[in-house]
């Protein structure tokens, strides 16, 4: 099967509010696929659906050929052991130091000796450049470093699928570049499949193999980063060139300023 993850005709919402609809996406093995879109477009929801944290009302999500919505808790835990996820702010365990955070999945899911775990953790930390920060607590490291530690933890068990939720948000340009390179290099070194949810155009286009653009819960464009850069699609153009107004309006929809100032009849 060429695709590790397949999403077909997904419909998801809270009550009457639809978050995602008619979604069809493929995530081929070994590739780094980006899901882009503005805030509230439903990007993170896709990751939560793939991880089985929430369930879609309609449609199918298959991971490694298994229908996620049909799995019970044990089944979900079994497929999650093959997944790694980087949360937006790292979600490091604040009562554990950097070393113990990375060692956590190994201690929970393997019977490796402490000596072996130590070596593996140091290698993972070496890969993200933080071997010498192993003894620090999460409160003692910067946001960018925390993201890198979380990345080391996410790949601790060499997962088949790695999901990144806004890995560049709030990082300085240097940390952003470091994080982007790490994501690409880890994907290639581990032979994993990566799903990158982001709205940082420059960094994402530099490392992604394929990009889906999402707006209001639907895919509005898709293609390689090169295709997206020259796309004439108004939404993609607005997003890629950071234009203030366009298909995504600058003003929150509602009454006009004239109407509010009493200069015209309210609609």
């Amino acid at each position: 099967m060429p695709n590790l993850v397949e999403i077909r005709d997904i419909q998801f919402g809270y009550g009457d509010r639809t978050i995602l609809s008619e979604l069809r996406m493929d995530f081929p093995r070994g590739k780094l696929i980006a899901v882009m879109g503005g805030s509230g477009s439903g990007k993170t929801t896709i990751l939560r659906l793939i991880g089985g944290q929430i369930r879609a009302q309609l449609g199918s999500i298959k991971v490694n050929g298994q229908e996620v919505s049909a799995l019970d808790t044990q089944g979900l835990y079994a497929i999650r052991r093959k997944m790694g996820m980087l949360f937006q702010h790292g979600a490091l365990f604040t009562d554990l130091n950097v070393f113990d955070n990375v060692a956590f999945p190994m201690r929970e899911h393997t019977n490796l000796s402490e000596a072996m775990i130590r070596d593996l953790v140091l290698l993972k930390l070496q890969a993200v450049g933080l071997r010498n920060a192993a003894g620090l607590m999460p409160a003692e490291i910067s946001g960018g470093m925390a993201r890198r530690v979380a990345l080391a933890r996410a790949v601790a068990l060499d997962p088949e699928l790695i999901m990144y939720d806004e890995p560049f948000a709030g990082l300085d340009p240097i940390s952003m570049g470091v994080a982007a390179n790490l994501i690409r290099n880890l994907n290639d070194a581990l032979g994993s499949t990566s799903i990158l949810v982001s709205h940082d155009v420059h960094e994402t286009f530099a490392i992604a193999d394929y990009v889906y653009f999402l707006s209001k819960g639907k895919i509005v464009a898709q293609g390689t980063p090169e295709e997206m850069r020259v796309s004439e699609d108004p939404y993609v153009k607005q997003f890629v060139h950071a234009e203030a107004d366009g298909p995504v309006p600058f003003h929150y929809p509602g009454a006009s300023l004239q109407a509010d100032l009493g200069l015209e009849k309210r609609t």
């Binding site: 991880g51 944290q53 979900l76 835990y77 079994a78 999650r80 052991r81 997944m83 996820m85 949360f87 937006q88 702010h89 979600a91 490091l92 365990f93 604040t94 956590f104 999945p105 929970e108 899911h109």
Partner: protein, 256 residues
């Protein structure tokens, strides 16, 4: 319609109670696997038990001081001041020890547990654990629950011991009650199973109640600063009332 409102209230209350009961049994069931990882429990006993010891010991000492003064004042009117040791000991082991320790435990350790779990939820640490295929109820809640149940009877014993020392200091050293009478009356009047045993049973039951309320409130807290603050307040209010209500039920059952 008022009938609809009453019906809605009853229905939602029953749903909440049912959900809480299901969570209680879920935590209880997840405690079974902890025998393989005792370190998780001992760390938490250290964290919630050891750090509560100072406030419990000092409170016990002062309660003992006051009990001796109040007890002497009453006993002296009947010429029975030599029974002061017995009065102090019985008051502590049967009633004040378990109840006051549980109330202090709710304020010191319960709030800390709720805030810790609530902040873990707000920081997506529990979600991260789930995504790592680790059950947060088993890994985070169950060890803290078991630690609370183990720590509270031990803290109650410390409270009782310090209270008796306080009673001795005031009764014997300051007021001048006979030293021999103080201890011998206590030794002959306090029964191991009827008095101390029932006090231990009470403190174990309170340990279940306070630990569960604190953990449940933290786990169900809204993941915002305001939500965690509200949950922490609810922990103190609910667990305090629950301790007093359970104390009434247990006392009625034990000493009928």
């Amino acid at each position: 319609m008022i009938v609809e409102k009453i019906g809605g209230f009853v229905r939602s209350t029953m749903a909440d109670v049912g959900y809480a009961a299901r969570s209680f049994f879920s935590i209880l069931a997840n405690c079974l696997g902890l025998w393989r990882r005792p370190r998780l429990v001992t760390d938490q006993i250290h964290f919630i038990g050891n750090y509560s010891m100072v406030i419990i010991a000092v409170s016990g000492l002062f309660v003992g001081f006051v009990l001796a003064y109040q007890g002497y004042y009453t006993l002296n009117r009947y010429g029975s001041e030599e029974a002061l040791g017995l009065l102090v000991a019985l008051s502590l082991v049967r009633e004040l020890g378990p109840v006051v320790t549980a109330l202090l435990f709710a304020g010191r350790a319960g709030t800390s547990l709720t805030a810790e779990i609530g902040l873990m939820k707000a920081g997506e640490q529990l979600a991260a654990m789930e995504m790592m295929a680790v059950n947060p109820i088993q890994r985070v809640l169950a060890p803290r629950f078991l630690a609370g149940i183990i720590a509270l009877p031990i803290l109650t014993s410390i409270f009782n011991a310090m209270g008796i020392i306080g009673g001795y200091v005031v009764g014997v050293k300051l007021i001048g009650v006979d030293n021999g009478s103080f201890w011998s009356q206590m030794q002959s009047g306090v029964e191991v199973f009827q008095d101390i045993g029932n006090g231990v049973v009470k403190s174990i039951v309170f340990g279940f109640a306070v630990s569960f309320v604190a953990l449940f409130q933290g786990y169900e807290a809204q993941p915002t600063p305001e939500g965690v603050a509200r949950a922490t307040t609810r922990t103190v209010v609910i667990s305090s009332l629950l301790v007093l209500w359970l104390d009434f039920l247990l006392t009625a059952w034990m000493f009928q």
